[in-house]
Assembly symmetry: C2
Homo-oligomer: 329 residues x 2
């Protein structure tokens, strides 16, 4: 049975919501290990009936969103994210998930699990809905300062991940740039372009522009962690601003309201198409173990989906493929 270590002390909505997510995912052929304050979690679990397959591992500390990750890691050896990641390292869990501090999760990943041989830097690979199906964007913020080799390795890692986990067939890779022409870009992106173009193992599409990201014209969008983080948060923010504008306009006149009620189902579809909670977790690629990052604002349903996503990630064996590829290089 797949075993998931779940750091329940992170996340904006508190451990109660996280535990609820674990309970929702229960009885699904998954063993869930809740990591956090044992007393709190025991009391919380008593509220529910059927707790088979859910266990608790105690961690006395937690790392907050505002703490400097490397310092916090050193000073809080018993932090929930560190304890949960150690379960993976020790073979007691197959993957770790958390909606706590991304920096803390990454630091624990690098120091506890370690990087895959020959991988210079890890990347967060998010998958997101587009007009053309689910696509991958990386790096979403693990490595804000990249060099061209980082961007090259991200492309290779995402290709392997896309094939194993999302069942993509020969996924196309686009380099996110300020123009589609070959010679466009900053110095970094001009250099990276050459490297990607030369690598015959990649199905390199070429440069793509900002407007191509939501259109989904490539399977994998590659960029540095600074750009990727801004792009993802912008898509999230703009969708929500637009949906609010629609709501405000539709409720501004009685006739619009009636129209809005009749077409409510259509908007439910649109909202579902934009619903990031269906996805759950983004893996940190490049580590010797699976660590999946969830949004800080994740609710129980999102964490249930994150648990399912982690299970699928384990079963897809994408990380074995990554290790085989890079250690064999």
């Amino acid at each position: 049975m797949v075993k998931i270590a779940f750091d329940v002390m992170g996340g904006d909505l508190g451990y109660q919501e996280m535990v609820k997510g674990a309970v929702m995912a229960n009885n699904q052929d998954i063993e869930i290990i809740l990591v956090g304050d044992e007393n709190l979690l025991k009391n919380e679990l008593e509220k529910y009936d059927d707790m088979k397959n859910i266990s608790i591992v105690h961690a006395s500390q937690l790392i907050g969103m505002d703490e400097e990750p490397a310092t916090a890691y050193k000073e809080k050896r018993d932090a929930s994210i560190t304890v949960a990641t150690r379960l993976v390292k020790d073979g007691l869990a197959d993957a770790v998930i958390s909606s706590g501090s991304t920096g803390a999760q990454m630091t624990a990943g690098i120091f506890v699990l370690g990087r895959i041989k020959n991988i210079k830097r890890p990347a967060i690979a998010t998958y997101y809905p587009t007009a053309n199906g689910i696509k991958i964007l990386l790096d979403a913020g693990a490595t804000p300062d990249c060099d061209k080799e980082n961007l090259h390795q991200f492309s290779l890692m995402a290709s392997i991940f896309g094939i194993s986990f999302l069942k993509m067939d020969n996924p196309t890779v686009g380099l996110l740039n300020i123009g589609s022409e070959d010679k466009k870009g900053s110095i970094l992106y001009k250099d990276a372009f050459k490297l990607l173009k030369e690598d015959s193992k990649l199905n390199f599409y070429g440069n793509i522009e900002g407007r191509d990201v939501p259109k989904g014209i490539v399977d994998i969008v590659v960029c540095d962690g600074f750009v990727g983080n801004i792009v993802l948060k912008l898509m999230e923010g703009l969708s929500s601003v637009l949906l609010n504008q629609i709501k405000e306009n539709i409720t501004s006149k009685i006739i619009y309201k009636i129209g809005g009620l009749l077409s409510k189902g259509a908007f439910r579809n649109i909202k579902a198409q934009l619903d990031y909670t269906e996805y759950g977790g983004a893996p940190l690629l490049g580590l010797k173990g699976i660590s999946m990052i969830s949004h800080g604002s994740s609710d129980a349903k999102t964490m249930m989906n994150a648990i399912f996503a982690a299970k699928r990630a384990v079963e897809s064996k994408f990380n074995e493929e990554l290790i085989k590829y890079f250690e064999g290089v």
Copy 2:
């Protein structure tokens, strides 16, 4: 009377559409100088009636979207964008506008007009609609490789521009970053943060995230030209993808369709709120003369608005303010 030099040979829709835009802006207390192939333009203008205040200056060459700007500038001394920019340099026009190659317009701006003393690099300042009114974002692509001093100068230039041109009152400046906390970011952005924070002349808000851009929580969003270009094209692309999704969903069932018809007016409002054609042109800040860039796909109405925007830009005297500020430093 304000005189606008209009390079009509650039733009995706052809000179006919550009001339139409000029005709639409005619009789508005503006002198419009069309720059391009004299024979073509004369024939085109003959289609219209009242041509007072529109004149033609001949340019025998044009620079295409795919040409390398610096090379094209050197090899095509009689290119329309160069000739139009020279009219500003020689005092024969107050501003130049174009929807041709941005790189070519910038190169002409730097070589013909020259940079304002003490300005290291120019920036394209776009203004865009948000949930909270019109806001400024720069750099939209003039300087893809920035250093911290560039970002500092962009902040100062945009503040002066915002006050003079958009009548902003003590505009807030946000640094676009991967977290709102003070110490977040890539090396460049961490360094820039310190510089902006130290400058008491700026109304510095601090770091903002991608999701804050469409919300409009600051008056001025500062970032390098690589990030800014991607952000703007992403906003454009995502709005259009979302509006298409709405259309598709609403037409998928007859009941939704009826609802959609009743609430049509609401969607017209939303589209108008997202209509970038109302704005027209983005100035290239940092030059000893006004050069305003329009979108390559601009139609006649957009170019009419670009002419009006250029007139307002001249009358606002923002560039005199910039020159006074930086030459006095």
